[in-house]
Amino acid sequence: MTLSELEKSHIEGLTSRFFRAAIIFICGVAALIVSIGLSVTLGVTDIKLATVWQAVFVFDPELTNHQVIRELRLPRAIGAALIGSFLAVSGAVMQGLTRNPLASPSIMGVSHGAAFALIIALIFFPAVTNLGMTFASFAGAGIAVILVFAVGSFSKGGLTPVKLALAGVAVGGMLSSLSSAFSLHFQVAKQMSFWYAGDLSGTNWLSVQLLLGAGVVGLLLALIISRAVTILSLGEEVSKGLGQNTLVVKTLGVIVVLVLTGAAVSVAGTVGFVGLVIPHIVRFLVGTDYRLIIPVSAVLGGLLLVIADIGARLVNAPYETPVGAITACIGVPFFLYLARGERSGL
């Protein structure tokens, strides 16, 4: 094969991957819309699709079903979609930045930071409002990220991917141990653990607004840096060789993770699995270009969490099952199947 032929096949590979990603993206969005529709109709009381339509477009405040749809199910379904996509995108950005297949919001200490702050808030200020919870969550996530980043950058040899990941594990482990100690000591462990496993039942329009605000900032920024993340994921040397300011890329990446994960945790607690595994699944599907990985992760992450939330409400109705357990049930087999495949690189 001559050089030009090689180049040609490379470009063909790229375009075919782009089309593949585009098809997955479009199908994913369609599936997401359908699943949100399903999520609104299914529940303890099943509601007809026609009623949903009326509730949205010709709202009648006298009807209970309309109110259930408007005030409970719709915000919950939309919230689930947003949270799923936030976690997936956070995980993708982290794995790209650290070049470590284990990186995810929980490995990097972000979820644990947010969760720790929330536990402290709930134990010492039981009357805390929704908005207060959100601020606590952001503050906790922020402190964890600053700690992780500080450990990484103040160390000799600088902010290498391995250092960042190790610092994340250390800080995250520390914070989650403190959370366990506090929740055991104040005997709130059981409530905490439900919430630690993810709980979407508190999602309302206020949370959706909050999530949307965070999403505009976080997702846009993620798309903007996606090309730089791809280059960085090839290695620090390559990235510097191409004239990239790796510190700026990493800082922006961390801001993305902070905003998206902080918002997600403040609304739903720490939903595990989505941030770790969805990026892997997406990478198997569309390759290693983060310009494709990030949007596809957003869609598939949202889809997974909406479907999981339907499951969480139906599996053991009228009780709720933690949504994190359901995401794992859906995702693990698929993930294992893909992990056995050949393309398991980052």
Binding site: G173, M174, F335
Partner: protein, 340 residues
């Protein structure tokens, strides 16, 4: 070059002896403290057989077995983590990552869930049944991970990925069971999952001690092989190592040690990750030196953590696994920042 290796060796012996002395000091401190305080000279008197009956009971029947277990389990978790990190070439690998802790935890929670009443008053045979379940769970997880990762051999990246997947699946099942428990059993399960040395009797120590000690000694004997595996696949094959066989064997060894440790002390999560890292930063990557230092370091950390855990909010106790993390993280972070 020669100068270098001599320096390395003296550093190794210096590290080993200081760790050893620290462990002895900690043993003595730990014997003094607890819900019942015993003065240092009373401890010495009791140790040489001059103490009163109550002191003998506290020291010989409660504190010593528990401390021996702490030392064994600490060394075991450390070694298991060091082997896993060496074999998978991933710095974040530890028994927890491959689902071993979660597998054991799930088995224990399932046991508590189905025999709830017996957990409240665990005694007699129960002391052995719980660890047995943990052991079965740990091995089930490990075997599952290995078979799912098997595809004409096991490549380390695939192994880690499959481990993550299996771990996620087990954690999900664990959550579902945990949430269905009544609050008391739930707290017990949580304490177990956070790591807790609880079977502190001599018969329990005797049931575990030979296995853990034998496996630790065997891994020390095997340590040169890990160096060879670390040179990379082709180099290792070139040097005549049967890579796949050795890898499988070492993994099995790591799992066996971790499984036994989990059986004795629950899911202590951080130790297997941290102890090898600290050791590596003190004595370097050669496994003949790394493994023994890791073992002593792990033992020391767990002993310190256990002493803190049983004293700080006495008479209540903090699960030792939680203390391990809180105690070892600052030093871990310090080392992380100091070294390249």
């Amino acid at each position: 070059m020669k100068h270098f290796s001599v320096q390395g060796r003296s550093r190794f012996w210096w590290t080993m002896s200081s760790l050893f002395i620290l462990i002895l000091v900690m043993l003595f401190v730990s014997l003094n403290t607890g819900v019942v305080q015993i003065a240092p000279n009373d401890v010495i008197r009791t140790l040489v057989g001059l103490g009163d009956e109550r002191q003998e009971l506290v020291l010989f029947d409660f504190r010593l077995p528990r401390m021996v277990l702490a030392l064994l389990v600490g060394a075991g978790f450390g070694i298991s983590g060091a082997i896993l990190q060496g074999v998978t070439k991933n710095e974040l690998a530890d028994p927890g990552i491959l689902g071993i802790n979660t597998g054991a935890g799930l088995a224990v929670v399932v046991y508590i869930f189905f025999f709830q009443s017996s957990m409240a008053s665990i005694s007699g045979l129960g002391v052995y049944i719980l660890p047995l379940f943990a052991l079965i769970g740990a091995f089930t997880a490990a075997i599952l991970v290995y078979f799912l990762a098997w595809k004409k051999g096991v490549n380390p990246v695939r192994l880690i990925l499959v481990g993550i997947g299996v771990n996620a699946g087990f954690s999900a099942a664990l959550i579902v069971f945990q949430i269905k428990m009544n609050p008391q059993d739930f707290t017990k399960a949580l304490v177990w999952l956070s790591g807790d040395i609880w079977g502190s009797s001599w018969s329990f120590v005797l049931a575990l001690l030979p296995w853990i000690v034998a496996l630790i000694i065997y891994s020390l004997y095997k340590s040169p092989v890990i160096n060879i595996l670390n040179l990379g696949e082709q180099m290792a094959v070139g040097l005549g190592a049967r890579v796949e066989r050795e890898r499988r064997f070492l993994l099995l060894l790591a799992v066996a040690i971790a499984g036994l440790c989990v059986a004795a002390a629950g899911g202590i999560a951080f130790l297997g990750l941290v102890a090898p890292h600290i050791a590596r930063r003190i004595v370097g990557p050669k496994h003949q030196q790394l493994l023994p230092v890791t073992a002593l370091l792990g033992a020391l950390i767990l002993l310190v953590a256990d002493t803190i855990g049983k004293n700080i909010i006495a008479p209540a106790e903090i699960p030792v696994g939680i203390v391990v993390t809180i105690v070892s993280t600052p030093y871990f972070i310090y080392l992380l920042m100091k070294t390249n």
